[in-house]
Amino acid sequence: MVLVALVDTRKEFEDLASTYLPIAIVVFALVLLGTIVPLFVFRARRRGEPSDREEPPWLPIGYAAVLIAIVALLVTLTFNAQDKISAKVTRPGLQVNVTAAKWNWRFDYPAQHISQIGGDSTPTSLVVPTGTDVRFNLTSLDVIHSFWVPYVRFKRDAFPRRTTSFVLSFPGVGYHTAGRCAEYCGLKHDQMIFTVEVMSRNDFNAWVSQQQRAQAARAA
């Protein structure tokens, strides 16, 4: 078996943030020092006249070079992460078609012939196996919605009359209540949630057979 790296949006987010955040904190600390120190050191009652030095010409140029280097670093890291997130996955482990509509979700598993749709009291449940790439095809029946799973640090807008695709993988096994619409979509936008259940491969297969039997029973 060839080990292919999964599309891991959660890891890409955390890795990238672990570079961005320290830089942001250092910059903030420098500016904080830069503004607070002169408030104490260069008080009005200090003797002597204020400095009338113009900035030396190398200063803005050298400083701009440092800024350009920071931009280059951040953009390079971002592009690398972006390439991994939007990598072409030719053979995903599962395909789920997501349909958003005011104010509910439907998850269709075309290969398994399963449909998940919730009611007023029970939100729709997205059930996925862990450790595999899942391709989502996302669309909307009315206004723009957004499919957001905070656990995998990813969201994608659902547009009417248009389908967008993306690939996610779900590390770990567990149950998450927080999947939801993130694009304001009218009256009950705040209620437009779903749950995410990540299962081991075996549990997922068992769940699929169980769902198929249940749907066959309903049809009969």
Partner: protein
């Protein structure tokens, strides 16, 4: 210049003056008062939002009203408050700073004020319609804003209101642009204009570029609602967003430049130093302006329908001009002799708090990070740090700095400090928790939320009421200072720029005595320090 003064109209007083005076100072004050009215109105809506969010579930308002309230809060604050007062500062001070007797196109400026009132009243009349005011957010994305999904007259009134406000902003910008281009005093070359005037020049250019895109978006949205057939294709909704954000991102800088310019003036004057790195600052402003028209789609990373890398690169590149502006602001303080007055406190507050907004903005310029935080409370925290904790602090710096010039009196320093401290504490208590709420998964624009977010929401709500107290202190300060007047001299701070070379308030045609020689961007500073004589000697 000298011949023009005889043909200009005399100042009008009374009711006719109120409705028809074309004196730019009077127009600016009326724009400010109009914006101020809508600031209070939008602020009350903000308090309703925060009160509802104090606990999960529904307490104060239902979902329908909540959606109206946050939509009108955002629309009011952006279209009717921050943009108008940004331009009001320019309408008042740009002619003074360039040594002009009058703004260019004064009747257009007056029309700009009337259109602002018309826009605001039209938008707010929505509250009296059957379905309430426009409630599709301040962005009014199609198809949510179409006739099927947001029926009712309130949405039409909202669209017309936005069009009037956008036209107002474009006209006021045209006046400022014209003043800078045609009305500068002899000796006032472009590279001798004060940093605030440079900021306003770039602001007015951006507004003139951006406003037509908004007008087109609103016009098409109106058409879509009445007849259909505009955005109801597979690419329609994304085209609306492209149009909207082609306005929406430049306008972010319209709401930033004037305040960074004003803060630059305050810092230089209160440090008793020339502004540091003037030319680099001007170059940074030009770069900012150029970049800001090619970053709009970073608001749309999560749509999956734009070239993410291009917009990520352009957005991250904003670090370069922003970094240079920050070096210049901080560098101006070093080596100075700093008086820590209320304007200076607000200016330093602006520098630090806007930085939090700016740094969090760098995160959102990176798509893999933005996919998670966009449309969450992280974004709400981000833009409130730029707009409230940033721009509004910059505005207050300008307000305390220029109040003596506009009124000829001082504001009370003690109440000013109370105002500053309450606002500083309130802003950070309100907006900092939002970063964590968003990271943890709370979306924006919701009336109800998961109970796990309760604690941080409570902190944020408490902060909002501290802000309200701070604003109250500001109002008390204005009333006290107007009732018991403490007269201010013409140049109370030791100003650098020409507005301080005339009486307070300035006469109808701004300068009733000859202007000092203009040999740099700080002519009054030169005159005091003997620089002018030195330059003139060198030139001779």
């Amino acid at each position: 210049m000298s011949t023009a003064t005889t043909t200009l109209p005399r100042a009008r007083g009374g009711v006719l003056g109120l409705i028809a005076s074309t004196d730019h100072k009077s127009v600016a004050i009326r724009i400010f008062l109009t914006g101020f009215f809508f600031f209070v109105a939008g602020g009350i809506l903000a308090l309703l939002i925060r009160t509802e969010l104090y606990s999960p579930g529904q307490q104060l308002v239902n979902q329908d009203h909540y959606n109206e309230i946050f939509s009108m809060h955002g629309s009011t604050m952006i279209y009717l408050f921050v943009v108008p007062i940004s331009l009001a500062l320019g309408v008042y001070f740009v002619p003074l700073q360039v040594g002009a007797a009058e703004i260019a196109l004064p009747r257009l400026a007056l029309l700009g004020w009337w259109l602002l009132i018309g826009g605001g009243v039209t938008m707010w009349l929505g509250w009296f319609t059957q379905n309430g005011p426009g409630d599709a957010g301040w962005t009014a994305y199609d198809p949510l804003s179409d006739a099927t999904n947001t029926p009712g007259d309130g949405m039409y009134l909202w669209i017309i209101g936005v069009m009037l406000a956008a036209t107002s902003a474009a006209l006021l910008s045209a006046c400022i642009l014209g003043t800078v281009m045609r009305r500068r005093a002899p000796g006032m070359t472009l590279l001798r204009m004060p940093v605030f005037t440079w900021s306003m020049l770039m602001t007015s250019i951006l507004m003139i570029v951006a406003a037509p895109a908004l007008l087109v978006a609103m016009g098409l949205l109106f058409w879509e609602r009445v007849y259909g057939g505009v955005f109801d294709t597979s690419g329609g909704p994304i085209q609306y967003q492209n149009l909207f954000w082609f306005f929406g991102h430049p306008v972010v800088y319209v709401m930033f430049f004037p305040f960074v310019g004003a803060v630059g003036e305050v810092i230089a004057v209160f440090s008793r130093k020339r502004f540091f790195g003037y030319r680099a600052h001007v170059a940074a402003l030009l770069l900012f302006t150029a970049l800001s028209t090619s970053v709009w789609a970073h608001h749309m990373f999560a749509t999956g329908q734009i070239t993410v890398k291009y917009f990520s690169l352009m957005s991250t590149a904003l670090i370069i001009p922003a970094g240079i502006e920050y070096l210049d602001l901080v560098g101006t303080m070093w080596g100075g002799r700093i008086r820590v007055g209320v304007p200076m406190a607000f200016a330093v507050g602006f520098i630090l708090q806007f930085l939090i907004g700016g740094l969090s903005g760098i995160f959102t310029g990176s798509p893999p990070l933005d996919y998670h935080v966009t449309d969450s409370y992280f974004i709400v925290g981000h833009f409130h740090y730029t707009l409230f904790a940033g721009s509004l602090f910059g505005f207050f710096a300008a307000f305390y700095y220029w109040w003596p010039k506009v009124t000829g009196t001082f504001l009370r320093t003690g109440i000013g400090w109370i105002h500053f401290v309450l606002l500083f504490v309130g802003a950070n208590v309100t907006f900092f928790p939002m970063f964590f709420l968003g990271y943890d998964g709370m979306p924006r624009r919701v009336a109800d939320y998961d109970p796990q977010f309760t604690d941080l929401n409570r902190v944020s709500t408490i902060g909002a009421f501290i802000i309200a107290l701070g604003i109250l202190a500001w109002l008390v300060n204005i009333v006290v200072s107007l009732v018991k007047r403490e007269p201010a001299p013409d140049d109370p701070w030791g100003g650098h720029t020409l507005e301080w070379a005339t009486s307070s308030p300035p006469p109808r045609h701004n300068f009733d005595k000859p202007l000092p020689p203009i040999r740099s961007y700080a002519p009054l500073f030169d005159a005091r320090s003997g620089q002018t004589a030195k330059i003139e000697k060198a030139e001779a």
